[in-house]
């Protein structure tokens, strides 16, 4: 019933805590924190010395593919991948088949999650029916059914008038719109960033402006309506600048960044590996530097993987015909601990905040804090674990990672959901 995490370094940004403490979990809640806590009768004790104990990591942008694309991923395999990667909760995008644009689909996903999920699942509802960008989905019913945000992710709602109405209509629900900011007239036919690598390889590219134009539009619409707009997977220096300026003006805009956009550039596409193809595309070194800075200073609020599983047959052929997207749940934490935290580019406490406190705040989710009474969702990191990424061992049903073979130091060690260690 209860679990005592003994002697770990506890980092709890929501409560400004960074100290060696014991954490006692009971009845699915955080019972208390302190030094040398007594273990009540029947408590399982975990020796966490040398480990880092954090509020459970929340990945607010994943694709679980169920219903409809179970050959890529299911709620069961995707949430096991999440647990293996150190996540206690995921928010799943609406581009399933059928699309999650009505309460029945939301109910189905939640029922699957209750029956087979290894971590908490929060569905995100579609903004428009069928993701077609033509008419609003039944947004009130989606909110009532448990959707925590609205997004046509994978597509951009190109109709500004309709998007404005979506912002207004959802104002009472306290759930943000999540924008996949990509002007499709600027990105049509593109498989990568437009720049020196696209010119050399002849792969059609899309300019950074395809993203920036839409980020600017969404900020202006948020300003007009007072709605909260969250920009998914920002990838450009321009988008970062727009979000920073808008926040300074008091606009309700937030943003996330993916691990791959933080550590890879368009140079990776020179390998022709379709696992370097995603939307938005990998950009330039200048963009990467701006993203890291923005994540550190809070312009970018959180890290999200955009875990996008695809079958091998969709990711092994011609680059321009391959599907967009990469998996991320099982590599994200290790990649960023090794490539951002270890070299000193991002403080560890900031990484923890951007993956727990901040997404919880943004979506009004339980969790993100180790205060007494909070859900006993905990991510424990091992800062010294050495690992080599081996996609054949993923819990995810798909293997489409650009990080295969990377050797990394630091990674998830234990994932606790509702007071119970998840063994995926």
């Amino acid at each position: 019933m209860s679990l005592l995490l003994r002697g770990g370094r506890v980092i709890d940004p929501a409560n400004n805590l960074d100290a060696v403490q014991d954490v006692l979990l009971a009845h699915g809640k955080i019972e208390r924190l302190g030094r040398s806590l007594e273990a009540p009768e029947g408590t399982e004790v975990v020796d966490a010395s040398g480990k880092i104990v954090c509020p459970g990591f929340i990945d607010m942008h994943v694709h679980l593919r169920e219903p409809g694309y179970e050959y890529k991923e299911t709620v069961a395999t995707g949430t096991r991948a999440a647990a293996a990667g150190g996540f206690t909760a995921v928010c799943c995008m609406a581009n399933t088949n059928p699309v999650n644009d009505n309460g029945a689909v939301t109910d189905y996903i939640l029922a699957k999650a209750r029956a087979e999920g290894a971590v908490r699942v929060y569905p995100i509802g579609a903004v428009t029916r069928g993701l077609r960008g033509e008419e609003l989905a039944e947004l009130a019913e989606l909110a009532e059914s448990g959707c925590v945000a609205f997004s046509d992710d994978g597509r951009c709602v190109m109709n500004a008038g309709l998007y404005r109405r979506a912002m207004e209509y959802t104002l009472p629900f306290g759930a943000p719109l999540i924008s996949h900011a990509e002007d499709s007239t600027l990105s049509r036919g593109a498989s990568m960033n437009e720049g020196v690598v696209s010119t050399e390889t002849g792969i059609p590219g899309q300019p950074a402006a395809a993203e920036d134009v839409m980020v600017a539009r969404d900020i202006l619409l948020a300003e007009l309506t007072g709605a909260h707009v969250h920009i998914a997977h920002v990838s450009t220096v321009g988008a970062v600048r727009l979000v920073r300026d808008a926040k300074a003006r008091g606009v309700r805009v937030t943003a996330e960044v993916t691990p791959h956009h933080l550590v890879l550039t368009e140079d990776a596409v020179r390998t022709w590996d379709p696992n370097t193809k995603m939307a938005p595309p990998l950009r330039t070194k200048r963009d990467v530097e701006a993203l890291i800075e923005a994540l550190a200073d809070g312009t970018v609020d959180c890290i999200a993987t955009d875990h996008a599983p695809h079958a091998l047959s969709e990711k092994e052929g011609e680059f321009d015909r391959a599907a967009f997207g990469v998996v991320g749940l099982e590599t994200a934490v290790a990649v960023l601990l090794d490539r951002l935290v270890r070299p000193g580019l991002l403080p560890l406490a900031t990484l923890v905040a951007r993956w727990s406190r901040d997404p919880a705040r943004l979506l009004n989710l339980p969790g993100g804090s180790l205060a007494a009474g909070a859900p006993a969702d905990i991510t424990i990191l091992d800062p010294d674990a050495e690992s080599t990424i081996d996609p054949s061992r993923f819990r995810s049903r798909s293997r489409n990672t650009p990080f295969g073979g990377w050797t990394l130091r630091g990674g998830p060690w234990m994932t606790i959901v509702g007071g119970k260690a998840v063994r995926p």
């Binding site: 437009e194 720049g195 020196v196 696209s198 010119t199 050399e200 390889t201 002849g202 792969i203 059609p204 590219g205 022709w272 047959s313 092994e316 052929g317 011609e318 680059f319 321009d320 015909r321």
Partner: protein, 312 residues
Amino acid sequence: MGWTRKDLLTMRDLEAGEIVLLVDTAASLQEIAGREIKKVPALRGKTVVNLFYESSTRTRTSFEIAGKWLSADVINFSASVSSTSKGESFVDTAKNIAAMSPDVVVVRHSSAGAAELLARQLPCSIVNAGDGAHEHPTQALLDLLTIREKKGHFEGLHVAIVGDIAHSRVARSNIHGMRKLGMTVTVAGPPTLIPPFVQELGAKVSYRLEDAIGDVDVIMMLRLQQERMTEGLIPSLREYSRFWGLTLDRLAKHARPDVLIMHPGPVNRGVELSPEVADGPYSVILDQVSRGVAVRMGVLLLLAGRKGGDGA
């Protein structure tokens, strides 16, 4: 210098010495075209597969003749990407062809990187006969052979490549090849048809035909695809032809008297080239086509004959 590569995929990968070896080999094979009996036994018992995912008369025929003159067995496999996307994938098709143990596969495909993909999957030699807007190395080699025959050397020559540079694999392969051989390359066209950062490839850029063609040794005109209008890259063929079409009048006014006019074909007569220029005294367009067979013989010979590389 000997040939050691399994595949010919790009000009970008080659060293200057390798390019010269390819051109020299092709030059030495040219005389076969003039023989009574156009057949040498060099590749007897070797199998060459032409795997063409895009329609091409000239390049496929050129490879086929090259293989046949060298006594290889040449098989043509034409597939359309649309039909294969419903059934067998490119990778699966490739594996099936590999299972028939060819020595060389010549591949043309609308996707950049397709030849490289095949080269990684198959143990036999791969020749890139054009992959999307990426590269078309045998076209660059036949252009180089033609230029050397007419001008006697490479070093110091200045070439203007005019037209749809953004979508041209011929332009990319030529820029790489020519730069490695000490030539200067200027690319010219309306800005919508010039790819960003093309200077990083070593080319100069001009947005006026009259400027681009003055003081160059070679003018290479590229074919303008009709789709560029519907994509909004140019307003009309009429306007393109008016500002970017090469006419005798423009040549006389702006170009050197000894300039060579080249075109990878097929020519849009009256669009990028006026008929008088295409058929005129400056034009070496048909020389390019005949050099193409020699170049492809040379490539097949070097690839199928490389050390440890025979597929027997």
